[in-house]
């Protein structure tokens, strides 16, 4: 009967814990502040609270004597948080880079059912029709802000690779309009290429990835030599590309008059529906129209999801390991302090303050671990540059981004681990029969 009762109680604790964790994972930070304030209020105004505070005070002041075992909790949790935040910041950086590339008031037109720009072809006739569609913004001289672009995957030697090892880079053939459509793109070194010449400007991400990307150097694209005349920066996926004159790219790669895509600026984001409808209704065309925001979001979707899932799986397994570590440490702490706790209870301290005190101690260690882990992830990985193949054709360079939101979720994980790791030892401490605990050792 007694066993049944204790089993039922254990079960109830577990169910409560699961429910609490779910609620916890969705908690925004203001709610946490509120909870903390309530808790502080309880601690300073009620008798039980004051008792808890004094017991916790004793525990915390003697932490230095248990430095070895307490640091296990801190370092274990710091490891979990660092790994988790690092993985998530990789997904975040990747997604942000692609997201920022697109906007709601610019559109990309591809041949129907093309998954990516490089797979699409548009004939000269189609391009002319698209440029005349309603809704496209016009430049000061009255011409539509639509840029027909050729995209090819080019092979270039990568930095730090073997002599014959090539990486794939996206080479974009553009006209003057391309710069009007993307106002965020700036030439930071050298100058723009001249039309009719084999000159390229290179993105700042590509500079880091491939050899020979210095202004004045010659590189081999296709079967021709091209001169690098400038470096540009736009803070988005374009940074990983090489830009050159559309005519020259098309002739080198034998594309004729066809282009891969048309990128156009709309006069207003609201024009998108009518623009799309106009193209869809035109019998001369068979095209897909998407806003660039949507196009790039779609491109990043799978990869981001995969990185996130891996991060969370790895983080969860590590977290489980850390929970057991914390449990171990806190059980040991409770065991070594059993007599002290029993004495407190014998002189009239109730169960709840003891539970709260042990919990408080663990949570404090967990908080410390979370902060250290977050700081480590931030120091090592914020701005760390990685690259991967994107859109099936070229290398995309992106930076890890440790955002405040990620740090916050890392901290939440830390506190959750601390909570579970402290709860069971705390309950044990509170349920220890006073007499046998006093006799112990």
């Amino acid at each position: 009967m007694k066993r049944l009762k204790s089993f039922a109680r254990g079960l109830a604790v577990l169910v409560g814990l699961a429910a609490g964790l779910i609620a916890w994972s969705m908690l925004p930070w203001p709610a946490l502040l509120g909870l903390a304030a309530l808790f502080a209020l309880w601690m300073f105004t009620t008798r039980g609270g004051r008792q808890a505070a004094s017991v916790a005070g004793v525990g915390i002041s003697t932490l230095s004597q248990r430095l070895g075992s307490s640091s296990v909790v801190v370092i274990g949790i710091a490891g979990v948080v660092a790994v988790l935040v690092a993985m998530l910041s990789m997904a975040e950086g990747y997604q942000q880079t692609l997201r920022r590339t697109g906007s709601d008031d610019s559109v990309i037109v591809l041949r129907g059912a093309s998954a990516a720009e490089v797979m699409s072809t548009l004939s000269l006739d189609s391009i002319n029709v698209i440029a005349q569609a309603p809704g496209i913004a016009r430049s000061a001289d009255g011409r539509p802000l639509a840029s027909a672009e050729t995209v090819v995957a080019a092979n270039l030697p990568i930095k730090g690779g073997a002599p014959d090892e090539d990486g794939s880079v996206q080479l974009r053939g553009v006209g003057d309009r391309a710069f009007d459509v993307r106002p965020q793109l700036k030439i930071v070194e050298g100058r723009k290429f001249e039309s009719g010449k084999r000159e390229v400007v290179v993105g700042s991400g590509a500079v880091r990835q491939f050899t020979g990307m210095q202004v004045g150097k010659q590189i081999r694209l296709g079967s021709e030599l091209w001169t690098v005349v400038g470096v540009f920066r736009s803070g988005d996926a374009m940074d990983s590309e090489l830009w050159a004159d559309a005519e020259m790219v098309a002739s080198t790669y034998r594309r004729g008059a066809s282009r891969n895509s048309v990128i156009a600026k709309l006069s207003d984001a609201k024009q998108f529906k009518s623009f799309k409808a106009a193209l869809a209704g035109d019998p001369r065309l068979q095209v897909d129209t998407t806003t660039t925001a949507e196009y790039f979001a779609k491109q990043s979707e799978t990869m981001t999801k995969v990185i996130r899932v891996i991060g969370i799986v790895v983080g969860s397994i590590m977290a489980i390991g850390a929970v057991f570590g914390a449990l171990n440490t806190m059980f040991a702490t409770v065991a070594t302090r059993a007599r002290e706790i029993a004495t407190l209870r014998a002189i009239g301290f109730r169960g709840v303050p003891v539970v709260v005190a042990v919990m408080l101690e663990t949570m404090l260690l967990a908080l410390l671990g979370g902060l250290i882990g977050g700081a480590l992830a931030w120091l090592i990985f914020n701005g760390y540059t990685a690259s991967t193949i994107a859109g099936g054709v070229g290398q995309l360079t992106f930076d890890f981004r440790v955002t405040g939101e990620l740090l916050w979720s890392g901290l939440k994980w830390a506190l959750a681990i601390g909570f579970i790791g402290g709860l069971f030892p705390a309950l044990r401490a509170a349920n220890l029969p006073v007499t046998s605990a006093l006799r112990a050792l």
């Binding site: 070895g68 075992s69 640091s71 296990v72 370092i75 274990g76 490891g79 979990v80 660092a82 790994v83 690092a86 990789m90 129907g112 059912a113 093309s114 998954a115 490089v118 797979m119 090819v152 995957a153 080019a154 092979n155 690779g161 014959d164 090892e165 090539d166 990486g167 794939s168 296709g222 079967s223 790669y253 034998r254 068979q286 779609k298 979707e301 799978t302 999801k305 995969v306 899932v309 891996i310 799986v313 790895v314 397994i317 590590m318 489980i320 390991g321 850390a322 057991f324 570590g325 449990l327 171990n328 440490t329 059980f331 040991a332 990685a386 690259s387 991967t388 193949i389 054709v393 290398q395």
Partner: protein, 388 residues
């Protein structure tokens, strides 16, 4: 071994603590198993003996640029080449253009060059006899619940059909299964169709091929043959680049991301934590047992036997946890792969991972056991018995 019961009894002294420590070790090695499988599959990609025997010839301009069909016979004449085959990207997608599937249009002899791909004899015959036939990877069949014999509608994200639409209809004539499940995860996810049918049907591909696959008679001649193949089209408007399949996939993988570094740092963090955790537990266990160890010494155990007893205990703990962890990873891996619908493929854990894992278990066990063991060895009997 004769002291095994003693070590066991020591481990079971505090069941809760041993269990909790075991669970964290299991978690760590579960992670190790999953990550090492991934790392290895990256390293092993295309690294098989067959991969080294095959050369890939693509356009030097870029991998999406086609090469002329006429190269086929000329490559075949290069001394040392035993077979030539070719393939094209098809760019197939199922239901949604974003739901892309690795699909290639291949020459009739393509399968002969890939002994890693197993196709039932009757099914291969059926494939060869059906113009619109396709062979589909086992994994894909399961993922979309396709059946042999059914019609398979695919969209191509690159090539329109003759009627101008992107919709193609194929007949599933057979199933591809990888003879080696470990390195063949890739073959599970692909679709092969007839190059001839593809070339006849799409107006955009007039007798051009995406890349050539060449089998060489002697692996040691591969470099020379690769140069000879590239020499055929040197200074033409379709220069080619030939490398072994192993080299090609290794450089492709390298571009995907620096997986090795990321996986390595995660494992480093995990093991650091693990060493600390177990080390602490072991130290605690020995501290608690001071008087017992003193008794052991009193009844005649030498200092060294005590040292070995403690070390054996920590190695045993690590081995139990580690083996269970890696075994769970072995069970969990395929589940993760299936659950993610093929998006994440965790390869089965191979001999290499197991031996590396076992080595790590023993090394970490010795490492964390060392301090407490030395402490136990140096124990002064009189002081220990007196509780000092």
């Amino acid at each position: 071994m004769k002291y095994f019961h003693l070590i066991w009894a020591e481990l079971m002294r505090r069941k809760t603590r041993t269990l909790l420590t075991l669970l964290s070790i299991i978690a760590a090695f579960l992670l190790f198993g999953l990550l090492d499988g991934v790392r290895e599959s990256f390293e092993q990609a295309g690294n098989s003996a067959n991969g080294a025997k095959r050369l890939q010839t693509g356009s030097r301009l870029s991998f999406i640029q086609p090469l002329p069909m006429s190269l086929n016979d000329r490559i075949g004449l290069v001394p040392g080449v035993s077979q030539v085959s070719y393939a094209n990207w098809f760019g197939g997608a199922y239901q949604d253009p974003h739901n892309q599937i690795f699909s290639f249009a291949v020459a009739p002899n393509y399968l002969d060059l890939y002994p890693e791909i197993a196709v039932d004899k009757a099914q291969r015959k059926a494939f060869e006899a059906t113009r619109t036939g396709v062979l589909v990877g086992e994994g894909l069949m399961k993922r979309f619940n396709w059946k042999v014999g059914q019609k398979l509608p695919l969209q191509s994200t690159i090539f329109p059909n003759r009627d101008g639409s992107k919709n193609w209809i194929f007949d599933i004539s057979g199933v591809i299964s990888a003879t080696d499940k470990k390195s063949g995860a890739w073959f599970d996810q692909m679709i092969l169709l007839h190059w001839k049918y593809f070339d006849d049907s799409t107006p955009y591909n007039t007798g051009q091929v995406g890349w050539y696959v060449t089998e060489v008679k002697d692996v040691n001649q591969a470099d020379r043959i690769a140069k000879a193949i590239d020499a055929i089209s040197a200074n033409s408007d379709h220069e080619s680049k030939t490398q072994t399949e192993a080299a090609a996939s290794a450089s492709w993988m390298k571009q995907m991301a620096d997986i090795g570094l990321i996986v390595g740092s995660i494992m480093g963090a995990v093991f650091f934590t693990l060493v600390l955790l177990t080390g602490n537990t072991m130290a605690q266990a020995v501290r608690e047992r001071t008087s017992e160890l003193a008794v052991l010494k009193t009844i005649g155990f030498s200092s060294h036997s005590v040292l070995w007893l403690v070390l054996a205990e920590s190695v045993l703990l690590m081995l139990i946890g580690g083996v269970v962890g890696v075994a769970i990873a072995g069970v969990l891996g395929p589940i993760v792969s299936t659950a993610s619908g093929g998006a994440i493929s965790v390869p089965p854990i191979g001999l290499n991972s197991w031996s590396l894992g076992l080595g790590l278990m023993i090394a970490i066990g010795l490492l964390v056991g060392a301090l407490p063991a030395i402490r136990a060895m140096r124990l002064n009997i009189v002081d220990a018995l007196a509780g000092r």
